[in-house]
Amino acid sequence: MVNIKTVTIVGTEPVAVYEDFDSYWRDQVARATEPRKSKLIRLKQHWDWGAVCFAQSVDLPPPCLANVIFLFGSPEKTYIELNKPKVKELLSNPDNIVTLQLKKTAPGKNAIIALVHTQEETEIFITQIYLPMDATELFKE
């Protein structure tokens, strides 16, 4: 599993900080009403399955890349990134700690800032994307 620790939602006052990805996700689902709640659940299932496929395609055990699609916002972008050896190494190493900052930068446009803290350094991934409709729903209040 990609070692996502904190998730920070920026733009609210104060910002919302979650201490791990699961608590962030549970809160998103708990606060959602139908039909968004069902969409979120389906989206997560879709992304969980995608992560298993990506792990197989880059020769990693399936759990290694759980939640990876969330970092890059879409399966397409994730596929491109995971084919970079350095990205694969950074994200599949459970000793590395990943933190996320989520920010709406324009209507329909979201930035995901992922910091990967390794023992020696910090790598910064920034995804500025127009998310597909389902994913955009994630960022709505």
């Binding site: 620790k5 904190t6 920070t8 920026v10 733009g11 006052e13 104060p14 910002v15 900080v17 979650y18 201490e19 700690i97 933190t99 900052q101 920010k103 930068t105 324009a106 930035a111 800032i113 910091l115 803290h117 023992q119 020696e120 350094e121 910090t122 910064i124 920034i126």
Partner: protein, 140 residues
């Protein structure tokens, strides 16, 4: 006060997230040995003087510059960086939300500062060894 909204503190043994600077600072003091705690308190005093000096030098209100030294780790580095008007406007605007991520490693301390403006953001990154070298009592 620099609008620090969140501090994520990462060590080899775990991580903590804080929603305000005072919350983080109390944690830092609590997990330090008495000797190190005194060092931190002294650093804070110097840091506050530094912040006031920066406010006076560049014509900001004192509340705007408070805690700015924690963004750059070392006062000398902060002093140098703040010569740049772009950096000053970035960190001293109270409308900008500042997120601080501090990672302690065996090699030093890495501070990543993300400043969020309304519609975009800037990342300032720096490596320091002090004053963030806060060791828990058991490791002293």
């Amino acid at each position: 006060m620099v609008n620090i909204q969140s501090i994520v503190h990462i060590t080899n043994s775990g991580h903590h997230a804080f929603n305000s600077f005072p919350e983080y600072w109390n944690y830092a003091l609590a997990r330090s040995s008495p000797r190190h705690r005194e060092k931190l308190k002294k650093f804070k005093q110097v840091s506050d003087l530094f912040s006031d000096g920066i406010a006076e030098k560049y014509g900001y209100k004192k509340e705007q510059t408070k805690n700015v030294s924690f963004l750059f780790g070392r006062l000398s580095q902060g002093n140098k960086k703040l010569e740049d008007v772009f950096i000053r406007e970035l960190v001293f605007s109270l409308e900008h939300q500042v997120i601080l991520e501090i990672k302690e490693t065996d090699y030093g301390t890495h501070v990543v500062v993300t400043v969020h403006r309304e519609n975009d953001f800037e990342i300032l990154s720096t490596v320091v060894t002090k004053p963030f070298e806060i060791k828990p009592q058991s490791e002293q």
